[in-house]
Symmetry: C2
Subunit: 341 residues, 2 copies
């Protein structure tokens, strides 16, 4: 079978290998689609070399069907459509014992810390399987994981129906958060510097702000009758955006930091104090976020087709990463069976 491997030096290589039989507690998944995401790009850039053992089969946004069952696996059948919640926790650390297994202090993130889904057949513990409805197309099913990220972010914000929401950053995750927040009853505006992305976001029915030509604070104050936004999601990763994000929020408003900020960022703590704001960290997802994500995709609340820029065969994974890097694609899926030998 074919596998797509990160081999260091910013390089992806296709390696042919024989599938292994699943162990007693595992299932073998015939992978249908794997989505490429920003974290995969970080791996490819070498930013995560301390965690990633080369050659590394990466990929963790996926859909597929069960191809084989380990001897101890119960409750699953060959052919069942599935996705994977790629979190393997130890169950014994303080975070796990406190009920926050998804941020286990010794978390194995499958697809980074161990082999991922950019291959034709993938063995995973049965415990990480999530059932997909028969009515959900498998290409859409590969979006469950990133939608679950957005659902988790929105749930962490405490958003309730009727609240006004600013999403800073109109890339793939920003669009998913905006869409999910709207489904949760929020009124949403997206701040985005890139004209092409603003146009795509507007095409999904959202108001947009170009922060280079409009004063965001004035816009939000006008929109909210001088109150400020209930919730602000920082999805841009920009230091300037973080510094100004607090000025968009109302008294007791919430700022959720979604983007990865690898170095410390300046925060306006005077504003945090003055308006009694809350800044919230959010990471990955919990099982219920996956379940909500599946509902949102299965009911077409998430505009999956508008988000999937292209589908390419596994052999073109390297080229797909290059396109993703250029910012010209929202979501590229890899068809892990196309071109199979």
């Amino acid at each position: 079978m074919l596998t797509a491997n990160y081999v260091g030096n910013k390089t992806m290589s296709i390696i042919e290998t024989a599938p292994e039989a699943p162990s007693a507690e595992q299932v073998q998944i015939k992978v249908a689609f794997t989505g490429l995401c920003g974290t995969d790009l970080h791996v490819l850039h070498g930013d995560m070399d301390r965690r990633v053992h080369q050659p590394a089969i990466i990929g963790h946004e996926m859909s597929g069907t069960i191809a084989a069952l380990g001897s101890a696996v119960q409750g699953w059948d060959i052919g069942d459509p599935v996705t994977v919640m790629p979190l393997d926790w130890d169950g014994t650390c303080p975070a796990c014992r406190a009920g926050h297994q998804h941020v286990c202090q010794n978390l194995n993130f499958i697809g980074i810390d161990s082999a991922g889904s950019l291959q034709q057949f993938w063995n995973v513990p049965a415990s990480v399987l999530v059932r997909l409805p028969e009515t959900l197309r498998l290409d859409h099913g590969a979006l469950v994981e990133p939608v679950a990220v957005a659902v988790h972010d929105v749930r962490r914000s405490g958003l309730v129906r009727g609240e006004k929401v600013v999403v800073i950053g109109g890339g793939p995750i920003g669009v998913l958060i905006a869409t999910t927040a709207r489904e949760f009853g929020g009124e949403v505006v997206v701040v985005e510097v890139d004209a092409g992305r603003r146009s795509a976001v507007a095409g999904l029915g959202f108001d947009t702000i170009d922060p280079r030509s409009e004063d965001q604070v004035e816009w939000v104050n006008r929109w909210t009758a001088d109150a400020g936004a209930d919730v602000v999601f920082e999805v841009s990763g920009s230091a300037q955006a973080v510094l100004h994000a607090t000025s968009l929020a109302r008294v007791r408003g919430r700022l959720v930091v979604v983007a990865i900020h690898p170095t410390p960022r300046e925060i306006d703590l005077q504003r945090l104090f003055w308006r009694e704001l809350t800044i919230i960290g959010a990471r990955v997802y919990e099982r219920r976020d996956f379940e909500t994500a599946i509902e949102l995709l299965n009911s077409s609340a998430i505009p999956a087709d508008a988000l999937i820029t292209d589908v390419v065969p596994l052999t073109q994974t390297a080229e797909a990463f290059a396109r993703l890097e250029s910012g010209q694609a929202m979501k590229i899926l890899v068809d892990c069976q196309a071109g199979a030998r």
Copy 2:
């Protein structure tokens, strides 16, 4: 009567003036004691000259008895012991309409934006009065306002019984937060660089950490079996403390920023993300915080005598500020009747 006035140029002046009769909605308070605090020092330094109209009678931590009633005032009698919650909100701004009057977008903070209690007789709207129990000594009653700050900070943290708490900074507010957190059922350690303050804090029964000789993170990890603290209060105002505070908190832990940070500060957003932390802003207090503060003082849960370094007559207000500035005093009260003519 005597009044203590900020007259600019880092100067306090005693000015003699005639008391005025209260207007219809006001009461006249015969001020017993006024505590001096860090905010008053900021006024004296000229940091708040845009808000403070000179000459300005400052002071907002106080106790007294009612000396005269305006014609429309009901429910109060001459001689009633009182303190003042010095917040006068407009009731119409978005924050007020949302139920957060204490952080009204057009707040009049009495004692900063209008005349305070460093005088023998003080007229205030009856609506800001808070009744003191007959059993509470009036010198202790002057601590209600700073204790209410601490109660508000602890309430904002969501602290529940049995949680582990780190207080960074062992000054007056740090000690009040530590004491209040302990009364709310927390186990508390105080981080403080100054040996004298550490010794005072230890004398109140708290564990202490000297961050210059001990590794705080190791200490907290040992204390919490590698979980991290449930709640961290940043009361030091130090940029370094803010940067490191996030490393003391457990997964889903809360960091309450109590100190005023006038310029933006670097925050470790990677840690915020990794541990799904929450950073919480807290400002002043609400009526229920005053009521809890009175209960805590009246039951001697707050070590009021240990906190009151000295009591001086109104005529020595300038000298008292100089002592406060030197860091050698926890709380100095001004006796607003001593030396009265």
